[in-house]
Symmetry: D2
Subunit: 320 residues, 4 copies
Amino acid sequence: MSDASHDARRRYSYLGPAGTFTEAALKQVPEAAGQEWCPVANLGEALDDVITGCSDAAMIAIENSIDGGVTVAQDALATISGLRIIGEYLVPVRFVLVARPGTKLEDVGVVAAHPVAYGQCRAWLDDQIPRHRHLPATSNVQAAVDLVAADSSVDAAIAPPGIEEHYDVEVLAEGIAENPDAVTRFVLVGRTAPVAPPTGADKTSLIVELPEDRSGALLELLEQFAARGVNLTLLASRPIGDRMGRYRFVIDAEGHVMDERVADALLGVKRYSPRVVFLGSYPRADRVAATTRRVHDDETFRDARDWLRGVIEGTPDGDA
Amino acid sequence: MSDASHDARRRYSYLGPAGTFTEAALKQVPEAAGQEWCPVANLGEALDDVITGCSDAAMIAIENSIDGGVTVAQDALATISGLRIIGEYLVPVRFVLVARPGTKLEDVGVVAAHPVAYGQCRAWLDDQIPRHRHLPATSNVQAAVDLVAADSSVDAAIAPPGIEEHYDVEVLAEGIAENPDAVTRFVLVGRTAPVAPPTGADKTSLIVELPEDRSGALLELLEQFAARGVNLTLLASRPIGDRMGRYRFVIDAEGHVMDERVADALLGVKRYSPRVVFLGSYPRADRVAATTRRVHDDETFRDARDWLRGVIEGTPDGDA
Amino acid sequence: MSDASHDARRRYSYLGPAGTFTEAALKQVPEAAGQEWCPVANLGEALDDVITGCSDAAMIAIENSIDGGVTVAQDALATISGLRIIGEYLVPVRFVLVARPGTKLEDVGVVAAHPVAYGQCRAWLDDQIPRHRHLPATSNVQAAVDLVAADSSVDAAIAPPGIEEHYDVEVLAEGIAENPDAVTRFVLVGRTAPVAPPTGADKTSLIVELPEDRSGALLELLEQFAARGVNLTLLASRPIGDRMGRYRFVIDAEGHVMDERVADALLGVKRYSPRVVFLGSYPRADRVAATTRRVHDDETFRDARDWLRGVIEGTPDGDA
Amino acid sequence: MSDASHDARRRYSYLGPAGTFTEAALKQVPEAAGQEWCPVANLGEALDDVITGCSDAAMIAIENSIDGGVTVAQDALATISGLRIIGEYLVPVRFVLVARPGTKLEDVGVVAAHPVAYGQCRAWLDDQIPRHRHLPATSNVQAAVDLVAADSSVDAAIAPPGIEEHYDVEVLAEGIAENPDAVTRFVLVGRTAPVAPPTGADKTSLIVELPEDRSGALLELLEQFAARGVNLTLLASRPIGDRMGRYRFVIDAEGHVMDERVADALLGVKRYSPRVVFLGSYPRADRVAATTRRVHDDETFRDARDWLRGVIEGTPDGDA
């Protein structure tokens, strides 16, 4: 297990089997090329691999997920400690309908599909195969795997494009998802380590719990960011789970924890919140730099600190 | 179909089969007693029944759902027009593990379960049956139904307590869900109609889209409520779905649309938002009245309007 | 006193004598031309004339005052009921130094001046007449009047340009005020009467007391305006006078009380504040229309009310 | 001038002559006892004495002033650099009416009084001496001085209690001011020097200009304080003077610049404002400690900084 080849290569876990959108995300990571890729059955395994040191990183779907993502992943990052997001990747969401070779569209009765994929393709299915029935599958690729199994009661499956290269299936229809512009956002997750320096186009992810005893608490939380000119690209509420009406918030903020305005906002959030989980500062998938006004520049923050020091020390014209 | 007995009885759709948590919610509705109850296969059918007039109302899970709820239901209410929430009900969430009679815990390999129910019980399963495999089911009761089917490859199923009264199964373990205090919130949904008058302990549900072009837009939305002393009991973000980063918000506010402060907040929200869906004002399941300060009382609102009228008309001492 | 000629003509009180900046403001009122003008000795007399019905209106300095204005006038409007501002006028502030004919600058020892005028001209005096002494006068014109009195111990006086047309004085220097762009803002005050309709470029003046028991009260007050897109052109704090630390605020807001956004802001302020005095909505001196966004238009307010009515009545598509 | 005795003693300037409220304030300063006290004619001289080093400190009225204070003093502190407030003192405001020995109330025609004192006593004068005339004086004590001058045309003067011990006058009436609880707030002003450490019950004074180009700018300024739980005990607007509608704000905040929450608020204000003048942190006259919530404690600020450092360095459980 600990032979030289293992030591030399990095190991990446991802939701398999080969052909998933998650694998497509992992293909976008230059550092992962030529390293060991380990397909796993679900999110829990992927994160366990990282926590235990079995893998160096795991690629997981985090938003608008197709392969089981979003809330499960958000809740996992909120509750499992020792993890850090180190990269972000976008994968376009496209679906094809596949069947065993020779099957015709009019023969299709039972369609296997991951529930989220099914939701995205339901309008097309209702229109084209009004009498179809849906059989839930655990992943989009698994639906295709089930399809070709010997004893399958499934007639067709919803799967990612390219699935026909991996499995003995035929494409009955392409582009069957409702929204042609849909993408899934993936994050690469490693173990807690020093934050990599800013690239100029970064994102910072947090989980924040609100103090219980105050209405308007979310308003105050948002003001911590707004007051420093820090835009949020994601704000999702998740029940904490101990009782109805208690939420934590999953937050993606523009900028890097080493940007003065982000650091200052995080200090404000930390003072205010009973629990903050810092999930990481990492380069944005879209490489778009945050737009800030001069008042929120690093230099403005440093000038203000210099001024305050002068004021306290009684430097002449410290108030100019 | 349109015989007298049908006309005379109200019809309620709910996620079946008998024994689901949804049926337990419907049992809490006094008006539904003795009326026609219609089990359906999924949320879409339930809402279709209401829209088409086939049913008078549908009971659906809306938050912390076990039977498929939350996001699917929220998105359905956000996009299907002509619906109104008319009641709210809470059902405690408990699970049992059931099997065919004679099965022992150590024999269990494959466990059928709705994915959300599986998530709630996974800690117990990992501890007690470490080698188990999960087979997703479309509802908690359907898992039990599948279990007793002739050709079943399933060994056990996660189901609601009392399932053994409906099906030929044996309870292997009780109380296997992680959180003993968990509840699911259900809403009763009818067609759009005049809002029923306030009861003094009401809730108002909305779907609100944010204007695209402004950071801090959510902050402004929340201020519409905070400025009128209207507390929110739910704020959930949902992707609008047209592209990454665009959200709508599912909001439950304390109070009734005929309460002055709520009406005023809704006016503010409506002016501000490109799209607001009013989902209804209805009695709260917990019967807790909103706590407000005098500044947000109906009387204070009326006094202010009287004052303003006097000011414009030039009434002496209108400014007292 | 009640003869026909009195009945037929309107009467205007102003701080005299002839030649004051207040008279210059009154000359800007088209309706006042050819009517009866009544010079008075101080602000109290001017407002008493209006309250008692002796005059129809009084011109008073309200901001950046030279002739005794600002705080005294603000406090008077805050505490005397039955008054309304009906117009606003701007008068450029210029000063000349005058003396008895034959006096040379180097002979000047004692300079009579209203204290505020003295403050504006002090830099010039300190530079040109370093050894001068200041004798306070009750008005700028009174200083000149005192100068020409038989037994005067005054050598020179600060007065408005044109004073030499009214009194036997000689101008020693012109443009002696520090700020060549200074203006004084005057308001025309009448008795409480129905508000005149909007002109499209209006201002609304208020006096607002803050609730005692809450820090952040001013913040909440300002949010009432900001939330409706109502800009403030003046916000001045004045001690209420009952004890240290209690303030009322003198507020000028852009827009007219019949503009929906201003009316809504006033309703918010009225609900919130223990005491609001509406001083009037009147045309702006600078004729600049308020810039508003569509979200704060009258039409947007009306649309929102229509929507809310439809929502309560259950109109189909009321939520579109 | 520079003899040993001068070097050894501290010198305090104050608005004289002896008997003024300003002298009463100076008597409250323990360190000033036995030192050199220098009466001056006006605020400008008092501050000049400090700037030039002629005096070590000057006592000046700053709020609800009787002896010429408030706005003139606020504007002086806003524009003269090199000054610091080092102490705060409260003096009750009481007035007596005095006259030359033998004068009766019914003989009084002309009343000399500082305009502010006159305003406070006007209700009493209007009631008791309806036909009186007011002659403005430069200070309350000067009014009494003028009264006893050989060639005086003055019949009575408004002056502070105890004036009869300094001048040959008789008290005609006591307690003639409208508000028996009125106080004047004085500050002791020295040259810029290192800030003295916190006492636990301190105040911090600032002058802040707002950025020109943004409505809602004051709202943002106030939020800098509110977001850190820093209460304001004074917020006064003063025209900057360059043109109508531009204001600076005179701010007194609870707490000391070395309190973390105050320092953080000042950093926020400094980043935001085009010009901030720090006037000093000094013990409060009323010795009342600021009430803060735990979220704004020094310790909370330090904990947040420690957390952020751990987060950046990747310390395990830095997110706990």
